[in-house]
Amino acid sequence: MANWIPLWLHKLSSPPAFYRFAGALRPWAITLALLLGLVALYGGLVLAPPDYQQGDDYRIIFIHVPCAWMSLFIYGVMGVAAFIALVWRIKLAEVVAMASAPIGACFTFITLVTGSLWGERMWGTWWTWDARLTSELVLLFLYLGVIGLYHSFEDRRQGARTAAFLALIGIVNVPIVHFSVNWWNTLHQGSTIRLLGPSSIAPSMIWPLLTMMAATKLYYVASLFGRTRTDLLALESGKDWVRQIAETEGRA
């Protein structure tokens, strides 16, 4: 591998460098997320035809499924960052792991609520203790556990490392959520989108879904960078670079 890649990564992991990097990328990420989100909403709510079985109710899929994917994806990112934080004790990895938890909790919450709204009409119940729903609820509790543990320590870094440990243990739940519809007989339907092999969904419905997926990913980047910047300022509040930011932004 080229030598400059690890060097660049090493430089980027210093708090002031990442602060600037994240500040430069964040406006682009949120702008693109909003644009793609609007396109996906138009495609999903207006252009896509009603489902032949579910009528217009299925349109919840355009937020439910991307949010469900994000709930797992963010947990994966949090798990990797937690691992790096525990093994190499990189401050930025701790911050990224802890900043991911609330965003992941938001997406998991949206997944559960929209799924509940969808299920009420299609299954006739708001909630059932089916494997997919239960494991997704466990995912929410894991996120809340990580957030709670992090904030229960006086020392931020100690809290981050302890919470990272919980995040790492909880990662076993991610494949359980993903494969629950195959491993158990669930009320929840199986996956309709497959990376390998044909998907069982019409093209007019699949593109808004994938566009919304891209939008939520970009939103995550923007939100993560915003939270990370704030956390870095708090964590390094005694340092010179933070002092400079506090002074210049105060006059602006």
Binding site: L45, V46, P50, G55, D56, D57, R59, I60, I63, H64, C67, P102, I103, C106, F109, I110, V113, T114, L117, W118, E120, R121, Y219, S223, G226, R227, R229, T230, L233, A234, S237, V242, R243, I245, A246, E247, E249, G250
Partner: protein, 79 residues
């Protein structure tokens, strides 16, 4: 309201399920977006306050005013 727009908002009779789902989506993400913004502003305000206090303390202790004839360590003690 035009009939097509009306049909759009009616969502084939599922308006009470589709729109709240989208409402929750936007409301939760809006909170997720705004909460750290407010925290950031509060943090920077606190930082500026701390810097101003440090600056004031430094002026009192490091350069005592010869006009007032006060020595080192005068003035109120700050935490």
């Amino acid at each position: 309201m035009s009939p097509s727009l009306h049909a759009f908002f009616a969502m084939g009779g599922y308006a009470a399920y589709v729109w709240p789902a989208y409402g929750v989506f936007f409301a939760v993400l809006l909170i997720d977006w705004l909460a750290p913004q407010f925290r950031r502003r509060r943090l920077l305000r606190e930082l500026r306050g701390r810097l101003a206090r440090q600056e004031a303390r430094k002026e009192r202790t490091v350069t005592p005013s010869p006009l007032r004839g006060e020595g080192w360590g005068e003035g109120p003690r700050l935490p």
